[in-house]
């Protein structure tokens, strides 16, 4: 009988402990590397704009997932070490040198980590592929959305596995260095000291959550609107809310006071007592689950948000809108009609007309030096002006604008943002003659297609005013506008693509400007000898030209193309959703099993005291259901509240679409809860087996 044989035999006996740890390492590495294979793959990387919101979000959620996985693995390892402590104590007491034990422990750990991590990374490849394929079933799939494998994912997976190994190593070191024979033998024996939870914890926690949310988000908004100033770092206040969640859960899990309701106290006495030793670690665990579920709900909200913006993006006046410098030799009505015929598309509401770009003086809000300030922009830029006559011809609406006033064109359902004001304009001028005319605000008109043609707005003025302002203006400032619809928009994609191509090939140098380009601003800049920042030209050779001042607005193209882009976003969100949900499920399961393991003697004792099966089962059920329900309810609730909050702060109101989104989120929450119930059922069965019910 050699020492090695002894260790081998013990390993055989304690297979369960090794299995749990191995499973946790495997699962964390699998989740993280499956995510990275997809996320760092070319398909996703090419789609996500550099430094964009979605990329930030994905990074954040990848971080949360990795952190969550680390936490539950390290947690499982402490369980592993604790169960080993008695064995080690006995070895130490019998004179086995600590060095030897350390060597054995670390060899075991390294082998376990290396093999399970490798398995996790390898399984990550098919898993990420399968999940991707699953989503492709539901979403628009084209050659651009195909799964492409990212080598970067390997690196991320390996780095994560190393990090995990390092963390486990540190935990193991702490365990061994703390190991003093007496401590270990005592820990192996059962009597543990109770740490009671103080009664003020609950109100404190509730207070912190409220304070965190109010300070974290409310302050931001209040500051923006009241003091017109951003306060940096207010996001840190959310940490207060997190601390609050921890305290609330802590008291919910382990507190019971002999208050007015005595019978309740005694009924719950035993199940509460189970938590008296592990309340803190259980609660930490639950907090992570709350975060996971929060990310889960929030990512589905984000995915939904993308989907609905895809639909609302097409809310213009006409499905097809063109505007370009009048001097440009563009496609004509005849060209358009020919193309329509070629594609068997029927045009309707076709109309065209000219507007003029005039120099505007207007009031707006600016952000400077950490402060919102009102600015008077005198003769600062150009904006598109239409005469009443032309506007009516284009839209069919009679604008009815008296002399000396103007009406501002907005899209349907428009809500003013903080920067631009529909009534901000107070004068317009002819850029060539300098002829200046003060104007007063006369209301708004609704025509999304025209609104999109000019910044900050397009304006409609009285025919007389228009004539006097445009007298002597050079044709450089004239803009030609074409609007039309087709009878069956959904089958007009090929037509639209064809037309788009023709439009691009007709576009000459004068049309080649990016969205923010303004000829007047450029003139002012050059006069002052400064460099003009918006002079770069758009690249017309690309498939989709993002930033083009005179880009055609064809709703059907935007819809189809953006849908494909969106499907990537949505897929990413769904992926994160799945990862977070499975992490939450695993963590809850591990918790339940370890609670059952830790309380095996308690259930033995209860049996001896004559507690029948149903009583013991009830106690177990109470405890486990708490572990599942609290974080589930809290996580989903917070995720939902945050989603509602985000929808509202976006533009300080709820549109019908947003309400639908929120309803769907509620549906998702129900599904998540149902899934967690399933996990609960499964965990409970496992726990029952452990405590011998």
């Amino acid at each position: 009988m050699t020492m090695n044989k002894v260790f081998k035999k013990l390993r055989g006996r304690n297979k369960k402990q090794y299995q749990l740890l191995a499973f946790c390492i495997f699962l964390s590495v699998l989740l993280v590397s499956a995510f990275s294979f997809m996320y760092f793959g070319p398909t996703v990387q090419e789609f996500l704009p550099e430094g964009g919101d979605t990329r930030k979000l994905a990074n954040l959620l990848l971080g949360v997932t990795a952190a969550g996985c680390c936490i539950f693995t390290v947690y499982a390892s402490t369980l592993f070490f604790r169960q080993k402590s008695r064995e080690y104590g006995i070895f130490l007491a019998l004179g086995e040198p600590k060095k030897e034990l350390k060597a054995v422990l670390f060899t075991e750990l390294s082998i376990l980590c290396a093999s399970t991590s490798l398995a996790g990374i390898l399984c990550g490849i098919p898993v990420s592929y399968l999940i991707w394929k699953l989503f492709e079933l539901f979403l628009v799939s084209t050659s651009r959305t195909g799964y492409r494998f990212g080598m970067g994912g390997f690196l991320a997976g390996i780095l994560f596995a190393l990090l995990l190994a390092l963390l486990l190593g540190v935990t193991g070191r702490l365990f061994v260095s703390r190991t003093d024979i007496m401590d270990i033998l005592k820990a192996g024996q059962k009597t543990e000291t109770v740490k009671e939870v103080k009664p003020y914890i609950l109100p404190l926690g509730v207070g912190l959550i409220a304070a965190g949310i109010i300070l974290g988000s409310g302050l931001q908004i209040a500051a923006a609107y009241l003091f017109r100033r951003l306060i940096p770092g207010t996001n840190l206040f959310y940490l207060l809310a997190l601390a609050g969640i921890y305290l609330v859960l802590l008291s919910a899990v382990s507190q019971s006071r002999l208050g007015r309701n005595k019978s309740k106290f005694y009924k719950n006495m035993v199940s509460v007592s189970m938590m008296r030793f592990s309340a803190k670690s259980t609660t930490r665990n639950m907090c992570v689950i709350v975060l996971m579920l929060f990310s889960c709900i929030f990512s589905s909200f984000y995915g939904m948000l993308y989907t609905t913006t895809a639909q609302t993006a097409s809310g213009g006046l006409r499905g097809f809108a063109l505007h370009y410098p009048a001097r440009e030799d563009q496609i004509t009505q005849a060209d358009i009609e020919d193309t329509a015929k070629k594609h068997a598309v029927t045009l309707k509401d076709f109309c065209e007309g000219d507007g003029a770009n005039l120099v505007i003086s207007y009031k707006a809000t600016d952000y400077d030096d950490g402060k919102y300030i009102d600015v008077d922009k005198k003769e600062a830029k150009l904006a598109l002006f239409l005469s009443c006559e032309i506007y009516e011809a284009l839209t069919g609406d009679e604008p009815d604008v008296p002399a000396g006033s103007y009406k501002t064109v907005t899209p349907a359902d428009y809500k003013e943002n903080i920067w631009d004001h529909t009534d901000g304009l107070y004068a317009a001028a002819n850029p060539d003659t300098g002829e200046n005319l003060p104007l007063s605000f006369g209301g708004t008109l609704t025509a999304g297609s025209i609104y999109a043609m000019s910044m900050p707005y397009a304006y409609v003025i009285n025919d007389g005013d228009y004539a006097s302002l445009t007298k002597g203006i050079s044709p450089d400032y004239a803009e030609h506008i074409v609007l039309f619809d087709v009878t069956d928009p959904d089958s007009s994609y090929d037509f639209a693509k064809d037309l788009y191509g023709q439009y691009v090939s007709h576009a000459g140098d004068i049309s080649l400007h990016i969205g923010n380009y303004d000829a007047w601003e450029e003139r002012l800049c050059l006069k002052q000898g400064e460099e003009y920042g918006y002079s770069p030209k758009p690249d017309l050779s690309e498939d989709i030209i993002d930033d083009w001042k005179y880009g055609p607005a064809f709703a059907i193209i935007t819809k189809v193309d953006s849908l494909q882009l969106l499907s990537i976003y949505v897929m990413l969100c769904l992926y994160i959703f799945i990862i977070c949900l499975s992490a939450a499920a695993v963590m809850s399961y591990v918790r339940s099993v370890s609670i059952a393991e830790n309380n095996r003697t308690l259930f033995d004792n209860l049996e001896r005291l004559g507690a029948d099966v149903s009583y013991r089962d009830d106690i177990l059920k109470k405890q486990l259901s708490r572990i599942f329900s609290y974080p589930a309810v809290l996580g989903c609730f917070l995720g939902f509240v945050f989603s509602v909050f985000m929808t509202w702060t976006n533009d300080r109101r709820f549109t019908a679409d947003e309400i639908t989104t929120l309803m769907i989120i509620l549906g998702v929450i129900v599904l998540v809860l149902a899934f967690l119930y399933g996990v609960y059922y499964f965990s409970r069965a496992a726990a029952r087996r452990i405590v011998g019910l």
């Binding site: 009597t191 109770v194 006495m269 008296r276 030793f277 049996e607 005291l609 004559g610 507690a611 009583y615």
Partner: protein
């Protein structure tokens, strides 16, 4: 109160059978304090586990207050353990997460009895066994003797027909040991409790009314406490020495 008739128990390990209890019969009367002694491996713990039906016996009868309790379904057995049997073990078996007071209440909490009487009774038992000062403490914070007295108080909570104790003084120093024995004696005097105790300790056994000595699964002798405690103890020591057992103690 407790009547054991022709009890047989055989452990089977692999293909080998080890008979541990062989046709054992004895009787414990109400209010009697009986000890079981015997060398290690003679079957004392097995006997106790059979009586409490933690392990099934092969044949024979175990009558508690005249009713056979062997082979009852789980639910009924639980009820009997809760109402009619009290347990005290060597390793205390207190729930670490419950305070002394809560531990004592536990049997009635399990039985869902009315709270006011329950608390009243638990307090009375604490006073009776001198543990009212540690009532709010947790097992980790009290001495071994106090733990064992807590266990005795808990065992008495439902006024059981009989208290079964397996080496209740095994882990204790002599002073704590005396305190626990006093607790049993008090329970006997004030509550007319019946106690059936397995012990190695002839000092502890010398306080009993009667001692059953087991050897290899059969009753070797039965000794009754007649004269002084000292004399009874000497008598016990003689028998044990003659058995060549490993009785490990003097006063």
């Amino acid at each position: 109160m407790l009547n054991v008739r022709h009890l047989n128990k055989t452990y089977t390990v692999g293909s080998n059978a080890y008979p541990v209890l062989k046709d054992l019969s004895f009787h414990v009367r109400k209010g009697e304090f009986v000890a079981v002694m015997g060398p290690s491996g003679s079957g004392k713990t097995t006997l106790l586990n059979c009586i409490s039906c933690f392990i099934p016996h092969d044949n024979g009868e175990i009558l508690l207050n005249g009713k056979d309790i062997s082979g009852l379904p789980e639910q009924k057995m639980s009820k009997i353990r809760n109402r009619h049997l009290g347990f005290v073990f060597q390793d205390f078996m207190l729930l670490d997460g419950l305070s002394v007071f809560e531990n004592i209440c536990l049997p009635q909490v399990i039985a869902k009895r009315p709270i006011v009487q329950m608390e009243e009774k638990a307090r009375r038992l604490c006073r009776l066994f001198g543990i009212e000062k540690v009532m709010e403490k947790y097992p980790a914070e009290i001495s071994g003797g106090e733990k064992q007295r807590t266990a005795v108080a808990r065992a008495l909570m439902n006024q059981p027909y009989i208290i079964l104790a397996d080496e209740p003084t095994g882990n204790l120093d002599s002073r704590s040991c005396k305190a626990v024995i006093d607790a049993f004696l008090r329970a006997k005097e004030e509550m007319n409790a019946t106690v059936f105790m397995v012990t190695h300790d002839s000092y502890a056994a010398s306080f009993c009314d009667r001692v059953v000595v087991l050897k290899d699964g059969v009753i070797h002798t039965e000794l009754t406490h007649k004269e002084s405690r000292r004399a009874f103890m000497d008598e016990l020591l003689d028998v044990l020495r003659e058995l060549g057992g490993d009785s490990d103690d003097d006063e």
